[in-house]
């Protein structure tokens, strides 16, 4: 079942169309929204939140219509915006409790829950400090805390690791991974950092120019674009590459005498194919092995 879906969505900024006739379903679990800058990721999230009025199409979040049931949706939704944001003049407990009350929690429950969520987000020690004095990493955490306080069913995280140092990033990704698995919480992570998506998400949607380029389970996507092989020769041989290309293979990358080669369809015998190409071109084959593709490889191939 989809936690959010859009059909024939159009979003325009003045005369510029950012999303054009977009139709997609965001699946349950943890889903990554990927795309180069200007692909329409953040615009899609903003229109799902009702921040932007689309010029056409329909959107549904948690089976509720965005156009008519905005407040109900936002009551079941947590949002961690990309930019630095907080309520000025408050300490962390007041801020998170206030966010809970704004979502409709009774005051006493909001306060209790604020302590709980701040502890969980690793801000237990700093909970009585004014939010304005927080470091970038702490501000990221408190944005997550205010999004979680009312126990949302769906969480939108827009660039959750922005501005974090390596250890802070690691901790944030662990938090995201934890809340999105086995806690009954669906998460949409919007990022251009592919390793972050790979670490936290089960599925991914790649957008480009306001259109879905590819969508699916990360594991499946890694293997969907043919079988890839890492090949190492004794020395660089253009003849070897030409022979492979003539036989329907595609050279994905080349670094000195090392190549990554993609076969559109799995050849009957990969070894025989490579040895034969080496023999034809007079190249010396040092070794080969099935390539371990990352999400980044898939992303780059899709965008190409």
């Amino acid at each position: 079942m989809a936690v959010a879906s859009v059909s024939n969505l159009y979003v325009r900024y003045g005369r510029k169309t950012v999303i054009s006739d977009l139709t997609l379903d965001i699946p349950e679990g943890c889903c990554g929204l990927l795309g180069p800058n200007g692909a329409g990721k953040t615009t899609l999230l903003k229109s799902l939140l009702g921040f932007l009025k689309p010029s056409g199409g329909q959107s549904k979040v948690l089976n509720l219509d965005v156009a008519t049931q905005g407040p109900l949706i936002r009551q079941r939704l947590g949002v961690m915006p990309e930019i630095d944001c907080h309520i000025p003049g408050m300490n962390a407990v007041s801020f998170v409790a206030y966010a809970g009350e704004l979502a409709g929690m009774p005051g006493s429950q909001a306060l209790r829950r604020a302590h709980e969520v701040l502890e969980y987000c690793g801000l237990g020690e700093a909970r009585y400090r004014n939010v304005e004095t927080y470091s970038t990493g702490m501000k990221q955490r408190i944005k997550l805390a205010q999004a979680l306080v009312h126990g949302p069913k769906l969480l939108f995280l827009d660039e959750p690791t922005n501005g974090l140092d390596p250890s802070g990033r690691e901790e944030m990704l662990t938090l995201v991974r934890e809340v999105s698995h086995g806690k009954g919480l669906n998460v949409v992570v919007c990022s251009h950092l592919l390793p972050d998506i790979e670490r936290t998400c089960d599925s991914v949607i790649v957008l480009q120019g306001g259109q879905v380029k590819v969508q699916g389970d990360i594991g499946t996507l890694r293997n969907s674009l043919g079988s890839h092989v890492d090949v190492e020769l004794r020395e660089h041989s253009p003849g070897f590459l030409d022979t492979l290309k003539a036989r329907g293979a595609r050279v994905v990358s080349s670094q000195g005498p090392r190549y990554r080669v993609a076969f559109g369809e799995e050849p009957k015998s990969l070894a025989r194919e490579l040895f034969s190409a080496a023999e034809t071109s007079g190249a010396q084959l040092r070794g080969f092995r099935p390539a371990r593709r990352t999400l980044e490889d898939v992303f780059l191939e899709v965008l190409e």
């Binding site: 510029k16 939140l49 915006p81 309520i87 003049g89 408050m90 704004l102 979502a103 969520v117 919480l185």
Partner: protein, 313 residues
């Protein structure tokens, strides 16, 4: 062995994430949450109590004059003792206007400007809060702070007068005074909070917003004073009306009408009647001007409230 039987192996605190399945209240009064928190922050500011006391001082002085008058006999407590009660209330109200303006600056300058600076609108509007909830919540927080500063000392003076002059027919002779007093005291709350909200929404810095409103308040007052002097003909009423077409002037002029106060600048100064007479400004142009300012402030604020800045072009 169960966990209870062996406490050393029991988990003492579950710090992992847990969902919230408790109640979530309806949407109807969400603005009240914003008002409550904003008021709490405003009343913690340095100087809040000071301004509150200074705004109450004119009412305290009126009570003092009344007390002195009652001790030494009517007419012996100086000129003030012979004032009518509406004049007395209007005098205190007019004297407290500057302090109400300062209270507005303190409470209202940062109401939206500080949120703009901290990108807080993204937090507010990502919750089940509408733009109207936010606007009403912020407006009410300023209006309650200013209204309370204006109304509480007036009510205290009213109770004092009632206690002192009940037997002399205070309530019988001034049967509408309480309602006129409430109306006059709520007027600054409505006007100031609407304009302040509009000015605050156009800024990202509370100090700049405060300075902008102070500029509007004083410069407009100076401009209408000059305009009042160059009104053609000998129409004193028109000149007086023009002189009152600034936020401060409107509050003063409308207050006079609501209290039905005398036209003398220093009422009660016997033997000098006519010396300080000032033509009463006309009511309806002032009501219209006040409504325009209120609507303008609210419309500007409404148009500036966005969760995200949309650049069109």
């Amino acid at each position: 062995m169960s966990e209870q039987a062996n406490p050393t192996q029991a988990q003492i605190a579950d710090l992992s994430y847990r969902g919230y399945d408790g109640p979530l209240q309806s949407h109807a009064l969400r603005w009240w949450t914003i008002t409550r928190y904003s008021l709490r922050q405003a009343t913690r500011k340095k100087g809040y109590v000071g301004i509150l006391l200074m705004a109450a001082l004119p009412y305290l002085l009126q009570a003092f004059f009344l007390y002195i008058g009652s001790q030494v006999g009517v007419g012996q407590g100086g000129g003030q003792a012979s004032l009518s009660f509406p004049d007395r209330f209007n005098s205190a109200y007019s004297s407290s206007l500057l302090w109400l303006f300062l209270m507005t600056l303190m409470v209202g300058a940062g109401s939206i400007a500080a949120d703009n600076r901290a990108n807080a609108l993204q937090v507010y509007l990502a919750k089940p809060i509408t733009k109207l909830d936010y606007l009403v919540g912020k407006w009410m927080s300023i209006a309650i702070a200013v209204g309370a500063t204006s109304l509480l000392p007036a009510v205290a003076l009213f109770i004092f007068c009632w206690g002192m002059y009940a037997q002399e027919g205070f309530l019988r002779d001034n049967s509408t005074l309480f309602f006129r007093m409430v109306g006059a005291c709520l007027l600054p709350a409505v006007l100031h909070s609407s304009i302040m909200l509009g000015v605050s929404s156009t800024n990202k810095n509370p100090r700049v917003a405060g300075a902008a409103y102070a500029g509007i308040y004083f410069i407009l007052a100076a401009v209408v004073q000059v305009a009042g002097q160059i009104v053609p003909g000998d129409n004193q009423e028109l000149a007086s009306t023009v002189r009152h077409l600034s936020p401060g002037g409107l509050l003063e002029g409308l207050g006079k009408h609501i209290y039905q106060a005398s036209d003398n600048l220093f009422p009660g100064m016997r033997g000098m009647s006519g010396m300080f007479e000032q033509a009463k400004p006309e009511l309806w142009p002032m009501v219209a001007a006040a409504l325009v300012l209120i609507a303008l402030g609210l419309l500007v604020a409404r148009s500036r409230i966005h969760a995200v800045e949309v650049v069109k072009g």
